[in-house]
Amino acid sequence: MKILVVDDERDVQLLFQQRFRKEIRNNELDFAFAFSGEEALTYMDNHNQEAVLILSDINMPGMSGLELLEQIKQNFHKPPPVVMMITAYGDKENYDTAMKLGADDFLTKPVEFGILKEKLKAML
């Protein structure tokens, strides 16, 4: 199963690969990385909705995570991907907006990878 991580911080890719090294080695999890909203949408278009779970940062230059969420929820229905929003700003407004736009989960930074692993395992 493919998980698309969207974050403008490039080191996130390395961090995820390291953190989920075992799961990746064991092919339990397959990660793809996009470094902006636009890149994520391009990936989504190119890989034909390969990712079933999208982890997206909200604060990004250019398209924000929420816009991305909105796009995904509007344009990608077969099957509708699970979108989890991750943000440093866990305020209510962000949360409400994200939920309204159809976000499946809302995580705040710093991400507790243990919890994230559990959520991903549970979801899959």
Partner: protein
Amino acid sequence: MKRPTTFTPCVGIYMLLLVILAACNGSKEAPPFPVTASEFKQPITKNFEFSKTDTIVWTTKAPANLKPIPIKKFDWNKLPSKPVDLGLPVPFKGISDAKPFSLGELPSIPFNIDSLAKTELTIKVTILGEPEIVKAGKLNNQPGATRGVMTAAGLGLPSTARTIFEDSKGMLWIGMDGNIARYDSENLEIYGLKQGFKNNSVGALFEDSKGRLWVGNAGEALSVIDFKGKLIYEISSSFPTSNIFEILEAHDGKFWLTNQNIGYDIIDLEENSIRQITPDDGLLGTFTLSIYQDKDGLIWLSSNGGANIIDLKAGKILQLTTENGLAGSFTSGFYEDNEGRVWMGSGNGASVLNADRTTISQYLNSELFEGMNGFIATVQDSSGSLWMGGANGVLYQLDETNGLLQRFNVASGSTGTQAILDIVEDNQRQIWVAVAQGGLYKIDPNSGSPGNFTVADGLTSNEVWETLEAEDGKIWIGTYLGIDIYDPQTKTIQNLGRAQGLVGDRSSRLKQDSKGRIWSLGDNAGLSIIDPIKQTIQQLTTVQGLETNSNHGLVERADGEFWLGGAEGELTTVNIEDSVFKYHLPSSAENVFRNNVIVSDNNNIIWVAGIGSGLQRIDPTTNERVFITTEEGLISNTVYSIVIDNENNIWAATDLGVQFINIETNEMTTFTTDEGLAANDVYALALHNGEIYTGTSRGLTILRAKIQADQQMPFWEAKTIGRTQGLDLLDFSENSFTFDRNNRFWAGVQGEMLTVMDALVVDSTSTPTYVTGINILDQKQQFYDKASLEANRIGLDTISGPNSNDFITVDGIEKDNSFITNEGVNWNTIEGNYNMPVGLTLSHTQNYLSFNYNGTYFANNDRVVYRYILEGIDKNWSPISQEKVSENYRDLPSGSYSFKVASKGFNNVWSEPSSFNFTILPPWWLTWWAYLLYALLLLYLGYRVHLYQRARTLEKARKNAQLIELEQAKEIKKAYAELKSTQSQLIQSEKMASLGELTAGIAHEIQNPLNFVNNFSEVNRELIEELKEEKAKPKKERDEKLEEELLTDIDQNLEKIAHHGKRADSIVKGMLQHSRASSGEKEPTDINVLSDEYLRLAYHGLRAKDKSFNANMETNFDDTIGKINIIPQDMGRVILNLITNAFHAVQEKKKLGEKGYDPIVSVSTNKTRNGIEIEVKDNGNGIPDKIIQRIFEPFFTTKPSGRGTGLGLSMSYEIVTKGHNGELKVTSKEGEGTTFTIVLPPTKEPKKAKKTVN
């Protein structure tokens, strides 16, 4: 004492204003003259109550004890008789029938004035000196003369008076030996040798039509006095002259003068000639006395041969002698009376032509004028009486209206010639008589002419105590030697004494009863009842029934009962017919005073006046009695007399005054000397013609109540007959008054004489009053009329000095060293009898003045009172006083004044006030031009003060301004310092504010690297654990490849940790750098890094503040820029500021909710030829044109207050332009966005420049 006022200019100006105000006030009008004012007080009226009533108890004398009344017979014809002249008029018998007369039938001879002997006049002109003024004495009774004749002997004349004349101004002139004098009742103004007047015996005085006084001399000289020119013309000629007794100015202007022993002189002043008319010219004689020109122009000349009537037109002399009806040939005087009759005196009497000249009548001395010798002067007085003077000092007054003739023996002795040549009635109706041989006399026909008669005149005794007019018109005079009975018909006195049958000598009380009997009381031997018809005397004494022989009061009651008042308080009633006598004696507690007068009022009530007991009022029907004594308000219990008026009121005379007792209103009105009585002890009273005659010890005071139209109370006037009026003695005898049927007053005086006084003539004329002089600085001043003096001296050759033969040059006025000349007193002319100056102006130094004044009271010039006022200073008329000089007026302020004075004399009539006007000039410093000067000075002063004040104010303002400026400068300096510090604080706070804004962003920015650091370090630990696990495995099991991979990862992770640690470090450093104050040092800086950093910071900062905030950030950095020299903190601030603003702008616009709006903030750098450009661009709303000009101004902000300092852009502008020599530009389009561009100049770095070139 008042403190002297300090004179300050301010006070001065104030005073000046006051003075101006006062000067503008004008003269005050005097109050109207109080016509009823009197020198005496008005009497005070008080209420009174009668005493308690008691009852008189009468005791009746037993008839059995009374003896019959003895009756004595007397015979009028056998009574002693003496002729006595009391100066009473007798009936005028009238004259025989008039005879026909015709002037035309008189014999005549031709007369031509030009053919008369004529010669030139010699005229010597002498200066007339100022008269010597002496106070005139009084006229007194002429001893031996008839009642009423007073002599001027006591007047103080310097020499024998021979003639008298009244001038046209009402002044009397007396001609004397060597002098003439003007007499004004107060002073004599005497002209004699000292005054240049030479005339040894003045025979005639005459005022010509030019006001000159002609003085005819009994000697050789004729003088004409010109008062206007102050000159004496002495006229002489070669013709002989002698006694000039009469002068006439004929209608043609020629002067006719008597020239006794020659004839008449005719002087023609125009021709400078004198003619003489003598018997040679047809004159009937040389003894000439009188000239008269009638209305037809005929000139009548008297002569000892008859009257000569000259008809100048017809050229003839008519000769009137005894043959034509003249009473005597020695013609002595002509007089035309009011009817036009011509009286022609002669030695035998007067011949009178009627007004038509158709009849002639003879008034012969022998028939009519007993004792008259000659008939010279005739004058008709204002009442119509003709006064005729003879040659022997006898004067007759003929009152044709009343048919009365009265003879006056004027001159004493009547021996020799006492020719009355002049009779003058003056303007106060006084008859003046001058005797040519010497003597001046006056008769006042109006003031009663009281006579003083004693034994010398034929009385039996001087002790006159009673007078009574009997029914037959005879006057009974009670004396201490019987009764003198005067018969006016026969002018004789008969005496009835004890020898003729009176019970005693004394007859001090006479009463006539209803039966015509006269009761004589007062002797302590009893009383006598005289029947003049039966010629009997009854003697009544205690023997016949009287309680006392000494009785004084007597009244007859209507029932015929007589009441007698005894000397010791006894009251006796006598019914003489029935011989009933009753008496009442005073109780011991009552009084033993004399019941002096008893009267019965209209209600038959008896009033008894007692000397010591006051008044008793007795009702004879009830015998009830009440008292009025001092206890009841009577002024004194010593009541000498009482009378009852028509209204039943009592007048009581006491030793302390007179009281009027109104029985009806119970009021008493008291009169004393304060109210005008001559003295308070009043002994006799009489009511006559509404007047109250009171006989005091100092004269006869007559009280009169004048009804005042607007007043309830009458105004009481008092006048006193005293010595001036002719009384020799003044102390009137008790109860001695009688008014006879001719209103003549009879009384005894002082027990020494009888006085007889004619009825007073009601006189309401006011007497002329004059201001007679002005005293300046206490000096009497003489004024003269220089113009008149000069005018009257024109054409004269030489003028002699008054005292010597020195001559005065003609054009010169005599040198005048008088005060008024030396002191520069100004006046226009002079006027009036006293040469008072007209238009007198005095300087302010001559303001110490008093005034002399006088009323010409030729009659009764005693007790003349005056009051005056100086209008302009006095508010009221002065107190009434006899002074003839005013108070001294001192320090009179400048102004116009009018001195007014009025006088009041015997008749109680105030004169018209006479006035004298003058002006006191203000000192030059108070004149109008001085005021003008003051005003100008004041204005100038004001102007100067104004200038001074203005200068001062300006100076003050300047100083103030300076101070304020200084203050302001200080404040500015301070403010500047404060501003500076505030600015730096502001800058700091702006920094901190932006720092605050950044904090969240920074935190966020740090969070990411920290997360990485944490995560990577955790991952590394896992990797290390995994590596350790691998290493712990037996060698063969060990996956070396894995181990290598792990170590690579660990290494890589460590690198990441270091990287993110550094990243965080740099962010913190940047933040600190931002917050730190600028070092001010430029250093090479990567502008792209700086811009990016702040863009992020700004973004995250805003995000941190506003979660909904979102915007696209675009960067477009030119990597070729490299490092440039800037002050990084400052420039970072600028960029941050611009970016923050840009974010705000897009956020604003986004909030508007415009669809499809994509907020974009882009930062780009660009290297150009001109240097480095850093562009911050937004697509917000843009800046309105209106405010774009101002956005770089300090404190300009569009944000709500408290949300922005407004310093950001201005600081940015400062930093770019001043700190970096760059430019900060802005372009904006409303609705589309704004672009800020920082243009920094190229960095002058040779290295870089080389590089660029390369």
